[in-house]
């Protein structure tokens, strides 16, 4: 059983990380625990103070920003890159539409749960030590969590790129089920799939790994950096 830690409990409670039955239980607990009550009370008071210190940007600054941006030149290289990326995105979208129309897939339970975890970080809750590099190309490690998904024990390393795209690397001690609609590589050792604009790449070696992201380039980058291809 976890040691009684009023500060930690209050920070999780006020941070909205405790829900349902656990939330009700904690609310009952603070009615009789002076330390937890004080922690929650101080946290709420500080939050109200911080919120009341919010300011509006001066109108003059707004105008300055507007004119600075209006005078900024466009990047030609960026436009060319954007055009190439646009063409790639269009072909990927077309492939996705074909896959959905033809196959109408429903996913294995583990895949559904992992997609939900990727979008809301709700399934794997426990923080743990990182086992993968803190940097993969332009991806930076921001969070490592562990937990169970059905019968699989799982660790996820979440990375973020400079534009805020998230890439999550799920690793387990047993092989991941294959997503419906997935395409296998020629060797058959890996598969990839695209579901609701989310890209998945899976390999069984060197460690059963499933990489999920919303940017195909970053998912491939993570897979290559981790030696999954």
């Amino acid at each position: 059983m976890r040691k009684h830690d009023p500060e930690r409990s209050a920070s999780l409670y006020l941070g909205g990380m405790v829900s349902g039955h656990a939330r009700k239980r904690f609310e009952q607990h603070i009615m009789g625990c002076e330390d937890c009550w004080r922690e929650v009370e101080m946290g709420r008071r500080g939050r109200a103070l911080a919120e009341s210190s919010r300011e509006l940007a001066p109108q003059a600054l707004r105008e300055m920003v507007r004119s600075t941006v209006a005078a900024a030149p466009l990047s030609r290289r960026g436009l060319a890159f954007g055009a190439r990326l646009g063409a790639l995105a269009a072909s990927v979208t077309l492939a996705l539409v074909v896959v959905f129309v033809v196959l109408q897939p429903s996913q294995p339970q583990e895949i559904e749960i992992l997609l939900s975890d990727y979008n809301r970080a709700e399934q794997l809750q426990r923080q743990t030590q990182a086992a993968l590099p803190s940097v993969l190309g332009d991806l930076e490690l921001v969070e490592v969590r562990r937990g169970r998904v059905e019968d699989m024990s799982m660790v996820v390393h979440e990375y973020v790129d400079p534009a805020g795209h998230i890439v999550a690397v799920y690793q387990s001690d047993s092989a991941f089920p294959v997503a419906r609609g997935a395409e296998h590589s020629v060797s058959g050792a890996t598969w990839s799939a695209m579901l609701d604009e989310t890209v998945m790449f899976c390999a069984d070696r060197p460690v059963p790994s499933l990489v999920i992201g919303d940017d195909q380039r970053e998912v491939r980058l993570a897979a290559v950096e981790l030696g999954l291809e």
Binding site: E7, R8, A10, S11, L12, L14, G15, G16, M17, E39, M42, G43, R44, R45, G46, R47, L49, A50, E51, S52, S53, R54, E55, L56, A57, L61, R62, M64, V65, R66, T68, V69, A70, A72, L74, S75, R77, G78, L79, F81, G82, L85, A121, Q127, E140, L141, V142, E143, V144, V160, P162, A163, G164, H165, I166, D214, D215
Partner: protein
């Protein structure tokens, strides 16, 4: 000349100006540096907007740019002395209505108390309490685990509440 790219960028990012301004204000003291920081954030953001992919979460993305620039400025500033400035005198000089004076005093006390928080607590509070990011979003912006952000926010809130109590007590005794 302004193009549709400029317009698209401004339409998407100008609503984040208050958010960027609040973040910059909590990172640096000098109001002139705050203005520079905000403008530089928008200049860098526009460069990135036209050179890379469009960000998934504009608010989080532009906050990250601002935070990185502010940290870089603070690193350089640590080797030189920041000029003291009278923010109240600069920002507001016309009104002498009593309630406004009280609000000003309270706001100044709050701002001073915020400045006394350790940087990481101040940033976490600014992102979550002032700018409305979730713990997960704040964790990504700060490149820090979510539980660490929650712990920093909680300790910062407690410290802010106590600092303000101390300041009010001192003012009342004086």
């Amino acid at each position: 000349m302004r193009s549709s790219v400029h317009d698209e960028f401004l339409n998407e990012t100008l609503p984040c100006l208050d958010l960027v301004y609040n973040l910059a204000r909590r990172m640096v003291k000098d109001p002139y540096v705050v203005e520079d920081l905000v403008q530089e954030t928008y200049t860098r953001a526009f460069e990135a907007w036209t050179s890379h992919r469009k960000p998934r979460n504009v608010e989080a993305w532009i906050s990250t740019i601002c935070l990185n620039l502010a940290r870089s400025w603070l690193r350089k500033a640590s080797t030189r002395r920041e000029l003291p400035t009278d923010e109240i005198a600069k920002d507001r000089s016309s009104s002498n209505v009593e309630s406004e004076a009280f609000q000003r005093l309270r706001s100044n006390l709050l701002h001073t108390a915020m400045r006394e928080l350790p940087e990481e607590q101040r940033v976490a509070i600014t992102l979550m309490d002032l700018n409305g990011f979730t713990a997960r979003e704040a964790a990504r912006i700060m490149s820090t685990p979510r539980n660490t952000v929650l712990s920093r926010v909680h300790r910062g809130r407690k410290r802010l509440a106590s600092l303000l109590e101390e300041k009010v007590t001192i003012d009342e005794e004086a």
